[in-house]
């Protein structure tokens, strides 16, 4: 294959990566922005979403498409429920203290991971894509499902954008993020906002996993990579900045996809990590972050 078509193929792979990454990273970004805590268990919510998707499509539905649609609805809802419960039972009791939350979510990471290991087993399993069709470019054919992942992620991101910028819930979230005390002084139940945002963050990770599960395999350790990548994206974009997160997800997703294909996945990870180091040295508040006054 010539360089041009090869670059196109690599860019498409990168776009798929970026689409899924932006959803997962936005979840982490929202939780950090509003609650001011780092959720180390974020990757496990992602893994849980994929495992639930596998279970639904394998156990409940014979047709891959109906299984996929069901998983797209049920997995985020269940994962959101788990997140809501863990916020109520753990994070609220430690008062969302930033350091204590890191330790507590490390604990949650192991509980979820080992729980899934016991129930789901150590094997990697695959999910059939909901539909097969190839889009034929002159030089190569490309999976229609992968392209639809990009479109679905774009759709979800627009819904999320609409909710955050145009609805009451979004306004309440932004007000809480900007000044928690004043939000309370105007009657906003900040504790309930925290629970909701934590659940929404986990649901975004779960949705991302449902989309990617038919392309990758489902495994109880699959949460580590998206956790690391989401952190990279959120740090480069600027902690708590939605625009920055989207931009960084595109940057990291594309560079990861392209470098993986031209050179090696290991080099891609090295470049991403190097970028984080450079951002931390030269612009510690992130590309779109605001310097603390």
């Amino acid at each position: 294959m010539d360089l041009g078509p090869f670059l196109l193929l690599a860019s498409l792979e990168g776009l798929v990566q970026a689409a899924v990454l932006s959803l997962a990273a936005l979840g982490l970004c929202l939780v950090f922005g509003v609650l001011r805590v780092v959720n180390v268990a974020h990757g496990e919510f992602y893994m849980l979403g994929a495992v639930i998707a596998w279970w639904i499509s394998y156990a409940l539905f014979s047709h891959p498409l109906s299984g996929f649609v069901a998983a797209l609805i049920v997995a985020p809802v269940l994962v959101g429920g788990v997140a809501l419960a863990s916020e109520r039972l753990v994070l609220r009791r430690i008062g969302h203290n930033p350091e204590a939350t890191i330790v507590a979510t490390i604990g949650m990471l192991y509980v979820i991971q080992q729980g899934v290991l016991i129930l789901f087993g150590p094997d990697a399993r695959s999910i059939e894509p909901p539909f097969y069709f190839r889009i034929d470019f002159p030089w190569f054919g490309y999976s229609g499902y992968k392209l639809s992942v990009i479109l679905m992620a774009l759709g979800l991101l627009s819904v999320l954008w609409y909710v955050i910028s145009r609805t009451r819930l979004g306004l309440v979230m932004r007000a809480t993020q900007l000044d928690r005390e004043m939000a309370q002084a105007f009657g906003i139940p900040v504790d309930r906002v925290y629970g909701t945002v934590f659940a929404v963050g986990a649901m975004l990770a779960a949705v991302a996993a449902v989309l990617i599960a038919p392309i990758r395999q489902v495994h109880y350790l699959m949460g580590l990579d998206p956790l690391l990548m989401s952190f990279i994206v959120v740090i480069i974009g600027g902690l708590g900045s939605i625009r920055g997160t989207l931009f960084a997800a595109l940057l990291i997703g594309m560079s990861d996809g392209i470098i993986s294909m031209f050179f090696s996945p290991t080099l891609a990870k090295m470049v991403s990590t190097l970028l984080v180091a450079l951002v931390l040295i030269f612009r510690p508040e992130g590309l779109f972050g605001r310097r603390e006054p």
Partner: protein, 233 residues
């Protein structure tokens, strides 16, 4: 009595009492001003009423409805609007969004924004402007307008004229008078005596977390000696 604070004690650290045994009564349409030097506990008193600083003892009632002991987010729905020191706008939100947050507790009822714009017409022209980019005077207007959106019976104002130009100071004073004449009870912390004279009916001199003396505003000039003692550092 519209608004009653009865021997309220409050403080940030566990066991501390920045405010001790504070008692205030304000009738509908009355404006009362807390005067005192820095650290006297004026701001803490307002925050304690809003539930933002934990109160140790005492009660706060609005039209007989007790509000002390509630979680902070359930206090404004009793009809208390709060304009904090330094305005504390949601700086990245637009003027409109700030007002919508102000109206949060009235979300199931119609909100009369027009009445608010009637008082602060300049805000109406700037609805979609990001509030952090407003001028200082406009920001103060917005902070007051935000509190008015919940249709308060009681308004707590913490240094509403701090850092404003003279023309803006008198405009803010005028709006406080108009609100009070509409029946709102105002509890105000203010350092500028000219504003106090033109808006308040009574003045409480505060020192070391408690009220030492209450005067009618007309007595301010006659008792300048006492006032100076409580204000000078």
């Amino acid at each position: 009595m519209r608004f009653k604070v009865d021997s309220l004690s409050a403080g940030y650290a566990p066991g501390s009492r920045t405010v001790r045994g504070l008692s205030i009564e304000i009738t509908a349409g009355e404006t009362l001003c807390l005067l005192g030097r820095n650290g006297a506990g004026k701001t803490t008193a307002l925050k304690a009423i809003m539930g933002l600083v934990p109160s140790r003892e005492g009660t706060v009632t609005v039209d007989g409805e007790p509000i002390s002991g509630r979680p902070a987010h359930r206090i404004p729905s009793a009809g208390i609007g709060y304009v904090p020191q330094g305005r504390r706008l949601f700086a990245e939100l637009t003027v409109r969004e700030n007002l919508e947050v102000g109206a949060y507790v009235r979300r199931h009822r119609r909100v009369d924004y027009e009445a608010v714009f009637d008082l602060f017409p300049r805000l109406k022209e700037r609805l979609s402007q990001v509030s952090g980019t407003l001028s200082g005077g406009e920001q103060q207007m917005l902070a007051m307008a935000r509190a008015l959106c919940l249709d308060p019976r009681v308004l707590l104002l913490d240094e509403p004229t701090e850092g404003l130009m003279p023309a803006m100071v008198s405009a803010i004073g005028e709006s406080i008078r108009r609100l009070a004449s509409g029946g709102v009870s105002v509890l105000m912390v203010e350092q500028r005596l000219d504003v106090v004279r033109s808006t308040a009916q009574r003045v409480c001199l505060m020192d070391n977390g408690t009220i030492r003396k209450t005067l009618p505003v007309g007595g301010l000039s006659a008792d300048m000696e006492t006032v100076r003692r409580y204000l000078s550092v």
